[in-house]
């Protein structure tokens, strides 16, 4: 899975990149517990539709990979659907579908998420299947080698033949010299061809343990009864050793880094990226707010200036990943209109940053950004899938209760804060630049 670099700013529907929902009562209604084996469990009753979302989130992603084995976390995600001792290959999907459920999974830099949305009375089946595949995968070499080809095809679809993703990968690998965030989530092609079944088995044994996972169920459930089922299904799984921590700190960037790619495409693309702190930093809410001010809708700065007033860009946007575990990149991107050059767009993006540095944002802009964040919280409540995913996201960065504080953190941001982080984190001499020049 790719980072959200493709948010469509063109149609102006992106609200905050971080989308969230907090019931007005906050997380008070969540039943939270940790089993003896370390499995974290979050349950929330939501009786509006007769459905539930069951999600198991493992704290493992491309961040936990080593050079030479990039893409192994995502490869393993695929293998989670290829059978256990009890349920053969493809049985997972079959059982979910014949019970009217929809299942899928995705891998990010920091985590791997498995989810099933299904009629609420089938939650027990999902829990059984998830508990089974937490420790009992077959991981047969024959299946691994067939799936290797599938993952390679996925890389071709998502990256090799997609100009935007291709360029994004180049910029990431340029921006990070030491930290694994420099490698693509899907992995380098050479690694995908090489990774051995034994390595996948070892990776599974290290990371797929109850003490490295969070189980979330939101929907038309009786939470205490579901907790009993969870204990029955997962309680007997042994706690594993704690997976080794990721200890890399990316060294400070000295000087600008730039990559220019020529590839078959129709229009150029420009990416700019700067290193920024994670949500652990007190500056995170201001960075989040800056992101919304820049690209939250058609009244946002980048749309209004680059797309509308100056007609330089077909689309332009910015993205701060609030949920990143380690310090990551703040991305900006623009697609020039035909006849405009990448140089012009790069300068226009830099001009926008300069303006944020030189003068405080208007009160109306700040209020709009706050209102957008708050409204997005309410809109998210409409979906049990989103409610569950958000609890999990906050749990992963330090505890689901951080969700309650999120809107307050955003509300507390002042124009001076936005100006201060703009000055601190976006120096022109430490930018990472990617340019894609189309080949006919």
């Amino acid at each position: 899975m790719q980072r959200l670099l493709l948010a469509v700013v063109l149609v102006g529907v992106s609200v905050a990149p971080v989308v969230a929902q907090a019931p007005s009562a906050g997380t008070a209604a969540v039943l939270a517990t940790t089993l003896n084996n370390g499995l974290r469990v979050l349950l929330l009753e939501d009786h509006r539709s007769p459905i539930a979302s069951v999600q198991l989130w493992y704290r493992v992603g491309s961040r936990n990979e080593r050079p030479g084995a990039t893409g192994i976390a995502h490869f393993l995600e695929h293998m989670m659907f290829k059978g256990t001792h009890r349920y053969g290959p493809r049985q997972f999907a079959r059982l979910i579908e014949q019970n009217g459920g929809q299942d899928n999974a995705f891998t990010t830099q920091d985590l791997t998420s498995y989810f099933v949305n299904i009629a609420a009375d089938k939650v027990g089946l999902v829990l059984e299947l998830e508990a089974d595949r937490m420790r009992n995968l077959l991981l047969e070499p024959k299946e691994i080698n067939a799936e290797r080809e599938v993952v390679i095809e996925e890389r071709r679809t998502r990256t090799e033949d997609d100009p935007g993703s291709f360029l994004g990968e180049e910029v990431s690998s340029l921006a990070f010299k030491a930290h694994p965030y420099g490698a693509p989530i899907i992995g380098w092609m050479e690694d995908l061809k090489r990774i051995t079944p034994a390595e996948i088995r070892a990776f599974y044994d290290v990371h797929y343990v109850p003490n490295n996972a969070t189980l979330v169920v939101v929907g038309d459930i009786e939470a205490p009864a579901v907790l009993d089922q969870v204990k029955r299904q997962f309680g007997g799984i042994a706690r594993g050793a704690d997976p080794p921590p990721v200890v890399v700190t990316e060294p400070v960037q000295n000087g600008e880094r730039r990559v220019i790619i020529q590839k078959q495409a129709k229009l150029p693309i420009v990416y700019l990226a700067w290193h920024v702190p994670s949500q652990k930093s007190p500056d995170a809410p201001a960075l989040e707010t800056l992101s919304v001010i820049l690209s939250g809708g058609r009244a946002s700065r980048l749309y209004r200036s680059l797309v509308y007033d100056r007609r330089l860009a077909l689309e332009a946007g910015g993205d701060y990943s609030y949920f990143s575990l380690d310090p990551n990149l703040f991305w900006f991107w623009a697609t020039p209109m035909p006849g405009q050059t990448p140089e012009t767009l790069e300068q226009a993006l830099l001009d926008e940053m300069e303006q944020l540095r030189s003068e405080p944002v208007a009160a109306e802009e700040l209020a709009r950004a706050r209102n957008q964040v708050e409204a997005s919280f309410v809109f998210q409540q409409d979906s049990v899938y989103r409610r569950a995913a958000l609890l999990a996201r906050f749990e992963m960065i330090g505890g689901y209760r951080l969700l309650d504080a999120y809107v307050d953190r955003i509300r507390a941001v002042t124009a001076a804060d936005v100006q201060r982080v703009a000055r601190m984190y976006f120096p022109a001499d430490r930018k990472n630049v990617g340019v894609l020049l189309p080949l006919p």
Partner: protein, 434 residues
């Protein structure tokens, strides 16, 4: 912007209603000027989703003026009533809401999403956009340039290129042959006069559906909609007639050479929509063939063959025509093998009845997953608008479930014999096949 085509695809997987069987999905009434008002109350979350559908999709584009409905849709919000486009954006975004307009194949949709406390403001803006658009000359020009650039950029996407080429082969002489957004040339011919004329001719109350879903009662909805849309006069005459059904053509094929590592293969033929009895067994047949990760094509092409990441078949029903498509993306040298598997599996379904277990799984999924299709206010709004536009009735969810439930192995074989003959399929490959 969801096109009606996509909304209709939702219907392809709908079955049992989330509400008790027999209860319609929404309150329905026809206002004096002909507007159909649909209201579904979902009081738990304080938001309101509104959809306004006009029977003014790309199928009504005049010949040589392809892309006009789409242009009209995008310019609707660029100035209306007393506000400029920028003022509309600022007003709706200040309250964290969204107001979007755009055309699909069959209809032109204006969508609103707001917190319940802001519903009046949202409806004021919506009414301006629908009834009092200004279509400023400069905004029309700006959008023409943007749409042309977006079309140019979309030519990068092999899936888009393949889908467009297939539609050209499938629907010769029919509006479905042309992309909703038109071509760079056809859009270049459009100006403000075209937009004003199209809007005047096709945006009329007696071909408009308004759906309100969320924290709103039927009485409130009626009051608020009548206050804003009640005086909208019904024009004389009858609404414009839709296009004739598409005619069939002998199967053709096209290869679009691109410097890519992977080829996109799409096979397709004309099919039927929800109003045809074959639609239900065909839905089951398509699901068994390439619908989910338990499907035959997924097993052979992806799981066993390692030939593709994406492989699927689907029915794409529109109001004025429909298609059935089979698609995969595979490394260039494997195009012949994947195509052969497609042909084998299509033919096998016509030759041999599907197994009872396979049939039951497909039916259980199609029926059992229905509540997941209606779990947000936005999805409910899209669904009830599509049901109304197709004339399926607000009890459609119940009847869909019944019809899927009645499908037998013999029915699946019968529709496969009729619709799955590999010789009838048009073929498109984008990439560098051997």
């Amino acid at each position: 912007m969801a096109s009606l085509l996509l909304l209709l695809a939702l219907l392809a997987v709908a079955s049992a209603p989330a509400t008790a069987a027999g209860r319609p999905l929404a309150h329905r009434e026809v206002l004096p000027n002909g507007i159909v008002l649909l209201v579904a109350e979902r009081p738990a979350i304080p938001i309101v989703a509104v959809r306004v559908l006009h029977r003014a999709g790309a199928v009504f584009d005049p010949a040589g003026r392809e892309g006009l409905a789409n242009l009209t849709g995008t310019v609707l919000t660029r100035g209306a009533g007393t506000r400029s486009g920028q003022e509309i954006d600022a007003a709706i975004e200040f309250v964290g809401g969204r107001l979007e307009a755009g055309a699909g194949r069959d209809g032109l949709t204006v969508s609103l999403a707001v917190l319940a406390k802001d519903v009046r403001l949202g409806l004021d803006l919506l009414a301006d956009v629908v009834l009092r658009p200004k279509f400023p000359e400069a905004e029309v020009k700006r959008k023409v340039a943007e749409i042309q650039a977006a079309i140019q950029r979309s030519e990068e996407s092999p899936e888009v290129v393949a889908a467009r080429a297939l539609s050209r082969l499938l629907f010769p002489g029919h509006p479905y042959a042309t992309p909703v957004e038109g071509t760079r040339e056809s859009v270049g011919r459009l100006g403000r006069d075209d937009v004003v004329k199209f809007w005047g001719e096709f945006v009329r109350p007696d071909s408009t559906i308004i759906a309100m879903v969320g924290a709103v009662t039927a009485a409130q909805a009626r009051r608020e909609i009548l206050a804003r849309f009640g005086a909208w006069p019904r024009p004389g005459g009858t609404p414009p007639t839709p296009p004739s059904p598409p005619v069939g053509m002998a199967a053709g094929s096209e290869t679009v050479k691109r410097d890519l590592t992977q080829a996109t293969i799409v096979l397709g033929r004309q099919a039927v929509n929800q109003r045809h009895p074959d639609y239900y067994p065909l839905t089951v047949a398509s699901y068994i063939l390439g619908g989910g990760s338990a499907s035959r094509l997924y097993a052979r092409v992806r799981d066993e063959g390692g030939l593709a990441y994406a492989v699927f078949s689907y029915l794409a029903p529109g109001k004025y025509g429909a298609s059935f498509r089979v698609s995969a993306q595979t490394r260039n040298q494997e195009v012949p093998r994947v195509t052969r598997i497609f042909e084998e599996e299509l033919a096998r379904m016509a030759r041999t009845p599907v197994g009872e277990r396979e049939l039951e799984l497909a039916k259980a999924y199609l029926i059992g997953s229905f509540p997941l299709r209606l779990d947000t206010s936005a999805k409910v709004a899209d669904f009830i608008v599509a049901v109304e536009e197709l004339g399926l009735g607000l009890d459609y969810a119940d009847r869909y479930r019944e019809r899927i439930g009645q499908v037998t192995a013999a029915d699946v074989q019968r529709v496969a014999m009729r619709y799955f003959d590999p010789g009838d399929f048009h073929r498109v490959v984008v990439g560098q096949p051997p």
